[in-house]
């Protein structure tokens, strides 16, 4: 409805009847959906985590960055609950998935989905169920809780679903002994976690082949997988240079450029709006992904879509590096067809009253603008994603 010129009076009447329709961004979806809401409202927990990770790894650098000041505050604020969570965990109070999850989540190199997987594996371990059914129900409850903890994180829910799938699909019936079955489940869960942790390295191996000497790579957003790919390529003595977008509003590009510069890779920083300007020098575009959806498209940090569009129109390949636990059974039809993940934007100056701000933190890039996906399942074309998903879930 938005953005379409309504020639129909009917249309207008409809909108009058439902004023909320005309300002979709004003209503916070989080508040309606969240049974156990996370502390900060209006901010996607997913992006909080990211910010946190950044802060932990490069707080020294971020401290220097003017723009990151309030982020720092944010992080400090977040530190509190987590610390207490860790304490509560060690005090072996009643087990909580969320706490466990947060504990894992704090590890800087651990992706959110892997943290979820670890947390769920811990659920199995600490579970006191005596039958398979009970265990499954408990696991389901835990994963639902995790998912509802942050409805905006695609990889979190995808990771939970995958784990459930992977773990429960085992023919547990074969083991008459419940304990044997449980052990097997734990084993599977841990194995899955291991696989997921190794995923990044696999992807780096696959992806670095695409980096050739003398190429220029445009990177949008900060992705640990992309960084891994570039690191490996650099350590293989490939000579290439990187264009980093600034990555407003959380300035993820600055962080990436710092890491790359430390590796000795020539880096140039662009503002986000200079993508088209720089594109003709670029040989390929690398992006990460928050989630890979059924159509083969990706959901990623705001600006990925426009980068991919520009690259597509200039016939530059767009490569996506994403672990397979980010594959989600979602199928957005357009940008608005997503659970919005909100992220406040600091413009540096007060916003004039009566002006609305688009705070959505991510966008959806349709598959036709992507060239290849580097995943731990191999290098895939976008259309294979659905194939994999069907095989996983059906």
């Amino acid at each position: 409805m938005w953005g379409r010129s309504a020639s129909f009076l009917l249309d207008k009447r409809l909108r009058d009847q439902h004023p909320s329709l005309s300002s979709p961004s004003s209503s916070s979806p989080d508040s309606t959906m969240d049974p156990n809401p996370n502390p900060n409202h209006g901010v996607s927990a997913y992006y909080q985590t990211r910010a946190e990770h950044h802060a932990i790894v490069s707080s020294d650098w971020l401290a220097q960055a003017q723009a990151a000041v309030d982020r720092e505050g944010d992080t400090a604020l977040m530190e509190g609950p987590h610390a207490s969570a860790a304490v509560s965990l060690s005090a072996s109070k009643p087990f909580s998935v969320i706490d466990e999850f947060n504990y894992w989540r704090k590890k800087p190199d651990l992706a959110e989905a892997v943290a979820a997987i670890m947390a769920l594996a811990a659920v199995i371990r600490s579970c006191e169920a005596t039958t398979m059914m009970e265990l499954e129900i408990e696991l389901k409850k835990a994963s639902d809780m995790l998912k509802s903890w942050d409805t905006t994180s695609i990889s979190l829910s995808a990771g939970c679903d995958l784990f459930m799938r992977y773990v429960t699909r085992t023919s547990a019936v074969e083991y008459e002994d419940f304990h044997a079955a449980k052990l097997r489940l734990i084993e599977r869960g841990e194995k899955f976690g291991e696989i997921s942790m190794k995923a990044r390295r696999t992807i780096a191996m696959l992806g670095q082949d695409f980096v050739f000497d003398g190429c220029t790579i445009l990177v949008h957003g900060f992705s640990r997988v992309v960084l891994e790919v570039l690191k490996l390529a650099a350590s293989n003595r490939k000579l290439f240079r990187i264009f980093c977008t600034e990555g407003r509003p959380d300035k993820t590009g600055l962080r990436l450029s710092k890491e790359l510069a430390a590796l000795g890779v020539p880096v140039k920083l662009l503002i986000d709006s200079a993508v088209a300007y720089a594109m003709d020098e670029v040989d390929m575009v690398f992006v990460g992904a928050d989630g890979v959806v059924e159509s083969g498209g990706i959901i990623n940090m705001m600006g990925t879509y426009q980068t991919a569009l520009v690259a597509h129109s200039m016939n530059k390949p767009v490569y996506v590096a994403a672990e397979s636990y980010k594959f989600a059974r979602l199928y957005p039809l357009d940008q608005k067809d997503l659970e919005p993940a909100l992220h406040p934007i600091d413009f540096g100056v007060p916003i004039p009253s009566g002006v609305e701000v688009e705070t959505s933190a991510r966008d959806y890039t349709p598959p036709q603008y992507l060239t290849l996906l580097f995943t731990d399942l191999g290098v895939l074309t976008p259309s294979v994603v659905s194939d994999e998903l069907i095989q996983l879930y059906l």
């Binding site: 379409r4 009917l10 083969g296 067809d337 598959p367 259309s383 659905s386 194939d387 059906l394």
Partner: protein
């Protein structure tokens, strides 16, 4: 089913042999290239006398193995003549050969699988066993030959790449018949081959043709005198008379060859299966299952056989001559009078046939359900005649029903899939099962299919689709797809706020009924004709469409006009969602809406209801240079489809082959 795999490898040779069979015309370069390999591969096993080779064109650049064995497996006399023709061809096409052949092989082999289910439509017909054959026969080779003649005249090689590609497609499609376990299909194919060569020859000259046939016959007979009698008996049901009737010289020898093989397997179905592969090679030579209605001879034959009196359609549109011409309206009264004379036809099937004919039942699901319910009744009333095996006799019965239904209206793809399912169930029945149990199990199978694959599937689709409707949406639909109607009603019931635009088109105006029903439910609607699509599209946020079938390249085969709507929607960046049950998926690949389609009544587009003064087309049939075309389906390329909603979830069009691959088996066996 199991044997299908092995057969697959064989399939390629068959295609090649097709080429061989129609040597005179020396059609597509592809054939040439293929023939050699086939010969090499298939000749030894077939054990044919391998009469001196009709050397397949020396010119062609053959696959490596071929070159040494120019001797073709088939005993075709007249090498000299052939050679000359082929040489010509070869000269023309060498490059094409290179280009053309590789693609051909891969699709063809792939298609094989498809074939079986596909065969349902075209080759299903074998009502008396042979009818199917006859129908099928004309399809491929004949038409291609004809084309050739028209185009190239003496130069056989004139056929060009485009044509070849076209033929390939048809082969792939038609071929399925082969796969069918049914012997009929087999026979039919054989006939085909013969027919094809025949037609080609006819085009050349009578004398020549005659000579060639004679020669072929002689050679074949000599080679394989043994089987004739056996073979005939082997043919199921009425096949025997049919074959004899056809009485084409060429044909009978060909049949003879197969005779012995067929006969043996017939003893037990398992055995048959085992024996199959070798036969298959042979069969594969045979062309396509699909009836090409521009083949005069085939059509003649079909007419003689037909239950329904067929009128000659006038002023056929050139590009669509190969499709069955619309004649339904005229035969309706005729059929009605025959109601009590049609002994073999079960009344419920007859009724459904008439309903198809009159258009009272339309829409993929409705037709499929009606057909299955009729079959269910027929099975209930069925009793095995003495001296016959239930499995075989019932299959033949069903086939005859199907061919009757085809005469009333060509089968839809979904019906083909459903029939395939039923036949599979019948074929899998254990021999020992008592008749009453068989009948009840088949009836429950039918119920289950209807329930699981249609009713419940629709519910699942609706649950999925409703998540894509947001408050404030403007949804557009075209025609009257039943799933979409259920979806809209459901979405309204769960309280979504949306508006519907119903786009309709002449001549069926099915949208009006939909409009009526939706408005009665209190949904706010807009009704317009497809002419206004580009005006209305800019306010639409979602397009929901139904489909008659989704093909494995993601092409949506649906009511004519759908492609137009989808393209306009795409141009306006409006997502197009196709709602389609998975049982309608088909492995076939189709690139246009020409090679397979259904023709409707041309009269309805010549008249404007309520405007007596617009009578310019009143006597259009008398004007020779005027042709009216009323197509029923069109093909929407997958580029214009954002999503396909099916019982397996929401998928991109590129995943259709995945579903087909992963669930075909399941669909067949349930």
């Amino acid at each position: 089913m199991d044997n299908r795999r092995p057969s697959r490898t064989v399939s390629d040779p068959k295609v090649r042999q097709v080429g061989f069979v129609t040597p005179g015309a020396a059609p597509p370069a592809r054939y040439l290239s293929e023939v050699p390999t086939t010969a090499a591969a298939s000749s030894p096993p077939s054990g044919e006398p391998a009469p001196p080779a009709i050397s397949i064109s020396p010119v062609m650049i053959p696959p490596p193995r071929h070159s040494p064995s120019p001797s073709a497996p088939l005993a075709v006399p007249n090498p000299a003549r052939r050679e000359s023709l082929q040489i010509q061809v070869g000269g023309y096409n060498p490059p094409e050969v290179l280009l053309g052949s590789p693609p051909l092989t891969s699709p063809s082999s792939r298609m094989d699988d498809t074939v079986s289910q596909f065969s349902e439509d075209p080759s299903m017909s074998p009502c008396d066993g042979r009818s199917g054959a006859a129908k099928v026969a004309p399809s491929f080779p004949g038409s291609s030959g004809e084309m050739m003649v028209m185009k190239a005249g003496t130069v056989g090689g004139g056929s060009n790449t485009p044509k070849s590609s076209w033929t390939t497609a048809s082969v792939a499609k038609t071929r399925p018949g082969i796969q069918e376990k049914e012997r009929e299909a087999f026979v039919g194919t054989q006939n085909d081959g013969a027919g094809a060569s025949k037609t080609l020859k006819e085009k050349t000259t009578k004398a020549e043709r005659r000579a060639l046939q004679e020669a072929q016959r002689a050679a074949k007979a000599a080679a394989k005198e043994s089987g004739a009698g056996v073979k005939l008996s082997a043919a199921p049901g009425g096949a025997v008379p049919a074959n004899t009737k056809q009485g084409k010289v060429v044909k009978s020898p060909a049949q003879k060859k197969d005779g012995p093989q067929v006969a043996n397997p017939s003893v037990s179905s398992e055995k048959k299966v085992v024996d199959r592969p070798p036969e298959k090679d042979r069969k594969k030579d045979i062309p396509p299952p699909r009836m090409q209605f521009d083949d005069i001879h085939r059509v003649e034959k079909a007419k003689r056989r037909a239950l329904v009196y067929q009128f000659e359609a006038k002023n056929r549109v050139e590009l669509f001559r190969h499709l069955p011409q619309y004649i339904h309206g005229t035969q309706f009264p005729d059929l009605e009078t025959k109601f009590f004379q049609l002994d073999p036809m079960h009344p419920s099937v007859y009724k459904v046939g008439l309903q198809y004919l009159s258009g009272n039942i339309s829409g993929g699901n409705a037709r499929c359900i009606a057909m299955f319910l009729a079959f269910r009744e027929a099975i209930r009333d069925y009793s095995t005649p003495p001296e016959k095996a239930l499995v075989r006799d019932l299959t033949a019965k069903i086939s005859s029903y199907v061919s009757f239904l085809i005469e009333c209206r060509p089968l839809s793809i979904s019906m083909g899939n459903a029939i395939r399912f039923l036949k599979n169930r019948i074929a899998k029945l254990p021999d020992t099962m008592p008749e009453s149990e068989v009948k009840s199990s088949l009836q429950s199978d039918i119920d289950r299919f209807i329930n699981e694959k249609i009713v419940i599937a629709d519910k699942v689709i609706i649950r999925h689709a409703v998540t894509k409707i947001r408050d404030g949406d403007v949804l557009l639909t075209y025609g009257s797809p039943c799933v979409v109607e259920m979806l809209l009603v459901y979405a309204h019931e769960v309280g979504k706020q949306f508006r519907v635009v119903i786009v309709d088109s002449r001549p069926k105006l099915e949208g009006q009924a939909l409009l009526h029903r939706l408005v009665a439910k209190g949904i706010s609607c807009t009704y317009t004709h497809v002419n206004a699509i580009s005006y209305i599209m800019h306010e639409v946020t979602r397009v929901f469409l139904g489909a008659a079938s989704v093909l494995s390249n993601g092409t949506v085969y649906s009511r004519v006009g759908t492609a137009c709507v989808a393209m306009v929607a795409n141009a306006f960046q409006v997502p197009v969602l196709i709602c389609c049950e998975a049982y309608k998926f088909h492995e076939r690949v189709q690139l246009d809406s020409i090679c397979s389609n259904e023709l409707g009544d041309p009269d309805v587009i010549s008249k404007v209801p309520g405007r007596k003064d617009l009578n310019h087309l009143d006597n259009w049939a008398d004007t020779e240079n005027l042709q009216l075309l009323n197509l029923t389906y069109d093909a929407t390329p997958s580029d214009f489809v954002s999503m396909i909603i099916t019982d397996y979830g929401m998928l991109p069009p590129s995943s259709v082959p995945v579903i087909v691959r992963e669930y075909r088996r399941e669909n067949l066996w349930i």
